[in-house]
């Protein structure tokens, strides 16, 4: 084991390297590109056996990934945002064909408007495809999750592809201390891929992708995928246990932060949870009984684990770093449906939208969310609606942008137009 400083992107490349992947179809997009550049360099140097091939687009990249995986080799690829959406058609195909590859998504908010900063509308758009989803907070977790994702994806009772998600910029380009396992110990945890059904191998010719026009048969196959995804929930603890035994790090389905005696819980995902944890610590110092639950596994959705963590609490606030336009926070709805059957479900369940386009939390926002849980004054209907975290200062900033767009801000004339500091 070597302890070194790695960006989230470099940790993803190391995860692929240690998994001894065979093939990496790729295509550049900010903020993911560093992953493929790192792997391309290692490949040309002969440090990894993988062929790293740059395709003409993400759609081609995922098409090639699918068929390569069908031959029985271990496939890795990575993308972000618009690229993820451009290849989206292939996500359903890869999952439906039960091809267990791993895709790293480096989250970036979607156009339009165009931006580079992260939120999770890209990765959560794939929640229904059949890909398993693991969302990482740290560089270490990125590396570890890739190794665990291969174990789960390739498991004969699962055979589904997996996404490991990390936040663009905040994690992709941030260096953190990472324990990089030795290749030998990694092999103990993740042996070479031995597919039970190597379809496009040279053993026996088979055709893939046949049409299933019978509705009953189609329903059967789709539900079979759902059952396979649910198998993850029972297989995960065993694999996480093996991982902890091999590497000394245990990753739960949900990370429980200061939850033991917490009356109030904030639910978050990915690296913005690090900011949430700092706020939880500060509120604890003020004597507030609050904690944070970080969802690591989004698909399959961990209903029972979530019920265990949240039942009996006085209040729960879900911070969604995404927005389903016309509905609200995506995870809020999923969490609400998991809690509804409980007799001792939290009486207060609030939805907050934060971190869109990489927006950072502002001072006082966690105090505000806690106050809303402690003193719910809104009607039930209002409570179920999403609350956008947004400050008066930001409103004024938007006003300045509008002034520039109207041309009434003459201070911007003749120079690069950008809002001045307040």
């Amino acid at each position: 084991m070597t302890r070194t400083m790695l960006t989230g992107n470099a940790a993803a490349a190391w995860g692929a390297r240690l998994a001894e992947v065979d093939y990496v179809p790729s295509f550049p997009i900010t903020p993911q590109t560093e992953i493929l550049e790192t792997l391309a360099g290692w490949s040309q140097l002969g440090e990894i056996p993988a062929r790293v091939v740059m395709m003409d687009s993400e759609h081609s990249m995922l098409a090639a990934a699918a068929t390569a995986a069908a031959t029985g080799v271990r496939v890795f690829t990575a993308t972000s945002s618009q690229g993820f959406l451009y290849g989206f058609e292939m996500l359903y195909a890869i999952a439906g064909l039960r091809l267990p590859l791993v895709l790293v998504n480096v989250s970036r908010a979607l156009a339009h408007p165009i931006t580079l900063e992260p939120d999770h509308n890209d990765v959560l758009s794939a929640r229904d495809t059949g890909f398993l989803q693991f969302h990482a907070e740290t560089s270490q977790e990125v590396l570890d999750s890739i190794l665990m994702a291969y174990r789960l994806a390739e498991h004969e009772k699962i055979l589904l592809p997996a996404i490991v998600n990390l936040d663009g910029f905040y994690l992709s380009f941030t260096r953190e201390a990472v324990e990089v396992p030795e290749p030998e110990e990694t092999k103990n945890f993740l042996p070479a891929f031995r597919p039970a059904y190597p379809l496009l191998s040279n053993r026996e010719p088979v055709a893939m992708g046949a049409a299933v026009l019978d509705p009953s048969l189609y329903s059967y196959f789709k539900h079979q995928m759902h059952n396979a995804a649910e198998n993850v929930l029972t297989i995960y603890p065993k694999i996480a246990g093996e991982f902890a035994e091999t590497f000394g790090r245990r990753h739960g389905i949900i990370e429980e932060f200061m939850l033991d005696d917490a009356d109030y819980v904030i639910v978050m995902t990915n690296s913005f949870a690090s900011m949430g944890k700092a706020e939880i610590k500060r509120l604890r110092q003020k004597g507030k009984k609050i904690g944070l639950a970080r969802l690591r596994m989004i698909r399959p959705f961990p209903h029972e684990e979530l019920q265990r963590v949240l039942r009996g609490r006085k209040g729960v606030a879900v911070v969604d770093q995404n927005i389903s336009v016309g509905k609200g926070g995506i995870l809020f709805g999923e969490i609400a449906s998991a809690l509804y059957p409980l007799a001792d479900r939290p009486p207060v369940l609030l939805s907050f939208i934060g971190g869109l386009g990489g927006r950072r939390f502002r001072p006082g926002e966690f105090d505000g969310m806690l106050a809303s849980m402690e003193n719910p004054t809104e009607s039930a209907a209002e409570t179920a609606r999403p609350h956008l975290l947004f400050t008066g200062e930001e409103c004024r900033q938007v006003g300045r942008f509008f002034a520039i767009a109207r041309g009434s801000d003459n201070t911007a004339h003749g120079s690069t137009r950008s809002p001045r500091a307040a």
Partner: protein, 284 residues
């Protein structure tokens, strides 16, 4: 709108964000000078782009602008032109945007002869994502995704445009501004699909292949006696490996997509059976 007869009348006030030394400044200059000389009012001009360094250009020019999706500049431009044929539509984009992720659109806009001008900024690198090889990067080049050498052969954009059936194909160079301005003006005046490839250095990520000094030695003007109506000769010049020929390589006269729409409509009207009875009889 006020009269536009000066260079600065076409500037939006947003300064370009390209790197110092980028060849794209020269292209922007030539483009705006062409607008001035053509006396093209901003309200009749639409600049369309995809994603990449070149695709930022619409921000800097006073006109209608659309900064689109990676690879989709041409279909977006086609949508604008078909819906509003009165607009002069100029599409700008890079070699990655136009020949890799968007490569599938190029032949179809060319064969349909959509009346728009497509200016492809060819710096033979993915500049915005900081230096990965593109479809026009030369074999064995060292880039961030091929540190020890590229395995793929480079595409030749002008040659592709000719075989795809573009009715106007020209090649320019970002430092040859007068010639470039003239080519752009010819392209905009051309009724039908006009393709202009512009060679450019990338001062940050491609200073070898597309080094200005190297290119200045490699370029030559299209011979004075070249007949752009001859597609075979146009292709020979476009693909000449001994010299990079600048100028109008190909020009042919054929109806644009809009002309074809009108032609087909007239034809359909002539053979049209009136009333619903004839339709009903078909199913009787």
């Amino acid at each position: 709108m006020e009269e536009q007869d000066k260079f600065c009348d076409y500037l939006s006030g947003v300064n370009p964000v390209w790197c110092p030394g980028c060849g794209y400044y020269g292209i922007l200059g030539a483009l705006v000078e062409a607008f001035v000389d053509l006396k093209l009012p901003s309200k009749e001009l639409a600049l369309i782009s995809g994603i990449g360094c070149a695709s930022r250009l619409p921000y800097f020019v006073k006109s209608y602008g659309f900064h689109g999706i990676h690879g989709r500049a041409l279909p977006i431009a086609q949508g604008v032109k078909i819906a509003n044929p009165n607009l002069t539509v100029v599409t700008v984009g890079g070699d990655g945007d136009g020949l890799a992720i968007g490569g599938g659109h190029f032949p179809h806009v060319a064969r349909n002869n959509v009346d728009l001008t497509y200016i492809l900024f060819n710096n033979a690198i993915y500049g915005m994502t900081k230096g990965q090889f593109s479809p026009t990067t030369t074999l064995f080049s060292s880039t961030k995704t091929s540190p020890f050498g590229l395995t793929g052969e480079a595409l030749n954009p002008s040659a592709l445009a000719i075989v795809y059936g573009a009715s106007f194909v020209a090649r320019g160079f970002s430092v040859k501004k007068e010639q470039l301005k003239d080519l752009i003006m010819q392209g905009i005046r051309h009724p039908g699909f006009a393709f202009i490839e512009i060679l450019s250095s990338c001062s940050s990520f491609n200073t070898t292949d597309m080094n200005v000094a190297r290119l200045l030695k490699a370029i030559d003007t299209v011979p004075a006696d070249h007949d752009p109506e001859n597609p075979v000769e146009a292709l020979r010049l476009a693909g000449d490996e001994s010299k990079i020929h600048l100028g109008v390589l190909r020009r042919s006269s054929r109806p644009s997509l809009e002309d074809r729409f009108q032609e087909i409509e007239k034809k359909a009207q002539r053979g049209k059976s009136h009333g619903i009875d004839s339709l009903v009889r078909q199913f009787a």
